[in-house]
Symmetry: C2
Subunit: 235 residues, 2 copies
């Protein structure tokens, strides 16, 4: 499958921003400039810019242009982006549980369909750190339908979503979240190195994919003391 034109422009601009070629507050090329640079029409240029807007990379102002936004020092967990893209460079990941066949866990807050319950389930868990500080624990479950030989494959660049995309051509198309403030259980508190009963942010996620009946379920436990969870919404 050929890469979509708008996606090409979108990724090109995103890379320029991430590499610092456009500093915060500066203007991206105008829609018309993008049209002539990439030999596309305004519809396509606008689609690329709208995606960057949704991802929080730019603001757009009528009559002025597309302005590069400040990337906040918070965890952008409430959208489709991965953890590392959200927070910056000094993040690390440790597997608490490598992917292996397991059971659908009652810890999952979202409702699991009958057909999913009849499939076998793969589980893995990771601890995320910023510098040396553990900030989030992530438990994941998914049906292994169609993911031939999945438990046993190394993650591409440590990213589960990249692996899904490149090995199985499955893309994340959206997500649902439920957020709760809770007291840390003993187990969670120990892993996050915080006192028992500290308040933590519990996020339940249901990822939707390009495969219509295939979802990924995550339960996240975040220590928000130093790294609040960030989000932005447009239009």
């Amino acid at each position: 499958m050929e890469e979509r034109r708008y996606k090409h422009v979108q990724n090109f601009l995103k890379l320029q921003i991430q590499k610092g070629y456009y500093v915060v507050g500066s203007y991206l090329p105008s829609e018309n400039e993008l049209c002539s640079t990439f030999s596309i029409t305004r519809t396509t240029a606008r689609k690329a810019l709208e995606e960057l807007l949704k991802e929080g990379f730019i603001d757009r102002q009528h009559g002025k242009g597309s302005i590069v936004r400040e990337r906040r020092k918070s965890l952008g967990l409430l959208n489709v982006k991965g953890f590392s893209e959200a927070v910056g460079k000094d993040v690390s990941t440790v597997f608490l549980q490598h992917p292996k066949p397991g059971l659908w866990d009652p810890a999952i807050h979202f409702t699991i369909s009958e057909t999913e319950l009849n499939e076998s389930c793969v589980h893995f868990a990771r601890l995320r750190r910023v510098g040396e500080v553990p900030v989030m624990i992530e438990y994941n479950w998914l049906a292994d339908t169609g993911l031939k030989g999945f438990p046993g494959i190394d993650f591409i660049e440590g990213s589960f979503f990249k692996t899904l995309s490149q090995h199985y051509h499955i893309e994340i198309t959206g997500s649902e979240h439920e957020l709760r403030a809770e007291n840390a259980t003993k187990n969670i508190a120990a892993l996050l190195k915080i006192p028992h009963d500290s308040p933590i942010l519990h996020i339940s996620v249901k990822f939707h994919t390009s495969n219509n009946n295939f979802f990924i379920y995550s339960e996240l436990y975040c220590n928000t003391e130093n790294y609040p969870v960030g989000n932005s919404y447009h239009l």
Copy 2:
């Protein structure tokens, strides 16, 4: 200003859904049907449907159609929708502080610009309930620049955003959020009728508006025990 065509279609469909003319799981008219019904082109029809998608009212499936989604029983606070649209019918609101001139409060987590600090500030606070249960406290601050005679106007249908739109032609165009799990202060705990030190979800919001340098700041304190905060993200 004439209402945008896509907005007209969007609002029409939203009303149909809210009134129950389309049950959960059923299909909205196809893009081509909307084109002929409203005498518009597909671009316009698609724009309307994409907005409904972003608002979480529908899912869209390639080759099938636009499917009405289940409205979750959670607080959809992380997007632009108002509180009452998010949760359902049995919500009520009590003013803890009617709008009045005040000071920019250090409780605001987002950075306030110099120009805003030089403006005078209006503050109001509300308590939100579902049934008889208090679930959220909301503190709001905004510059009163250009909002002639604002403190003193009744809210249209109890909605601050509707008032902004209809009295001042200011629309909400987006928002940023930061989320933290905290222990309830004595004050917050008393208002939410929960034990002191219960975990609560603290959401800091910066609303962007069609007026480029005008923002609205909110600090929300949520009891997520019975009503988790919900969110969804698309594409």
